[in-house]
Symmetry: C2
Subunit: 307 residues, 2 copies
């Protein structure tokens, strides 16, 4: 009897197609065999590897940091997005869209070293709690995806997170909760500045957007940072569509999946009109482009880890 | 009796310091212990991992491609650097400096997909021969560095090449001769364009410089692409100094090395005035900044692999 390596996935066509795909690309006797160095899987983070409702969780971190920073910086406190954060005005925040949110993140993450950001994020992640569930944010990662990460690793895959979130924040999160090393995170980034004192160099984040890692930029950054076409690509919104289409290009098979948030009872149900990351055009294109829709209510036995 | 894991390194202070450093950072009982995910080594390529005389070898590849392309593109043939290449005018090429060379590389590498560049580079590397030694370029990699790469890997290090050379060219070279996977190459890059047809995405290199990966840009790109301070950094010119200084920053020990081309009999002897990559300011700073100088004539028993 085969051991079930994906126990949090319900039996059915989606689980079967995942396992069948992995079998085909890892079997040397199969025409679709892919050697290990090309077994690259790229993953969106927010809404794909952990929850993102009502806002990407990094925004809560940014809000907590912005509150502390704005107490000593009145100019910062006046910026529309920061003001909305401080006032708890979710409607304005949502209207500002994902790029607006990233600007908040940049403003609250700037003028520090990546190491200082890492220390701040590490402390916050250890204790911060979701306002509706009362769970720590880090306990709202998706248990079925954790199992899929480990299963694919055992089959020779290397994972990359390709996120619209800030690169240093997600580099703190990724090793801690997903077991993915820091260099395997590609994210939105600030411009950085290198300076030297007494022969010792320092990098400082400048609080100015360098790359907003969404839509076609995800595909371009995969080309620059990885240089290998993803064999598996997983997302949950229109912002991930280009990454999946990149995986579909070139020679040979690929497995492309979009997580559909259909479970209002155990998580949240949303798609086309959700901001900041709509799931609309990609949802319509899924069938024609042979993209596997992961229906959370139907396909996932568990959402979050127990306890 | 301990097995000599670096047989092409002569016994002496340099070899001893390398081995002692690795012992300290990998021994859990030592105060300088560093856990495996942070055992990152960054390597320059030209002149550090293989020879670079009289010009970085990618320039020979670019010249061969430019000849073929210029036959059908008179505008291209008129560009000063391309014209100098076609005429075999090394003096003009040298005077154009490293950024000029990169522009040639970009011009001869543009408007193709990374996969097409990979195929072209793979074919060229298999056969192209150095004009003075008669060896294939790929047989002019440094045997002592190959041993050091494997030794460090066995001690839990992950290598990144951080090169001024073109990212896609070096991504073809690195797995082939150094055993370093494609994603672990950071290089100079062209802007890329993503387009979609029938749901399938394609990346095209635009023949326009995006990032010239030299000097402080090497340090900045390490921050963006790796996000972990290098524990070991190895270079051979002023263009690598910032990378070594980044390794020296932050907490804890680091090992920084510069290869000094001192062996006119077995390789070539050059440093301060060499173009396109001078070794001048970094050579003067080495002692004060505790940078280990690898003297090729003194420290290396073998230069290139046998045969």
């Amino acid at each position: 009897v085969d051991e079930d390596r994906l126990p949090s996935w319900n039996d059915g066509p989606v689980k079967e197609q995942i396992i069948e795909f992995v079998r085909q690309v890892t079997d040397e006797r199969n025409d679709d065999f892919v050697p290990p160095p090309e077994r690259i899987a790229t993953w969106d983070n927010d809404g794909t590897l952990w929850s993102e409702y009502p806002l990407p969780f990094q925004v809560f971190f940014a809000a907590d940091r912005a509150r502390a920073l704005a107490a000593n910086d009145l100019e910062l406190a006046k910026e529309p997005a920061i003001a909305a954060l401080l006032a708890g005005d979710r409607e304005t925040l949502a209207a500002l869209g994902e790029e607006g949110l990233m600007q908040i993140v940049v403003a609250s993450h700037g003028n520090i070293t990546p190491q200082e950001l890492h220390v701040a994020a590490l402390g916050w992640l250890g204790t911060a709690v979701h306002p509706e569930t009362g769970r720590r944010f880090i306990d709202m990662i998706f248990q079925p995806q954790l199992e899929l990460l480990r299963y694919l690793e055992a089959e020779g895959f290397r994972h990359y997170i390709v996120t619209g979130g800030g690169i240093d924040f997600v580099r703190t999160l990724a090793p801690m909760v997903y077991g993915i090393p820091r260099p395997q995170v590609i994210g939105s980034s600030e411009k950085v500045c290198f300076s030297v004192e007494n022969g010792k160099g320092t990098i400082v984040k400048l609080g100015e957007l360098r790359s907003f890692n969404d839509k076609e930029v995800k595909a371009e950054n995969i080309a620059i940072h990885i240089g290998v076409r993803p064999l598996i690509a997983v997302g949950n919104s229109d912002g991930d569509h280009a990454m999946l289409q990149l995986a579909a290009g070139g020679e040979g098979k690929s497995l492309r999946m979009l997580v559909h948030h259909t479970d209002g009872a155990r998580e949240w149900a949303y798609d086309r009109e959700f901001t900041p990351s709509r799931f609309n055009l990609a949802l319509d294109a899924a069938a024609a482009e042979d993209i596997l829709l992961v229906d959370m209510a139907r396909d996932w036995r568990t959402i979050w880890p127990a306890g």
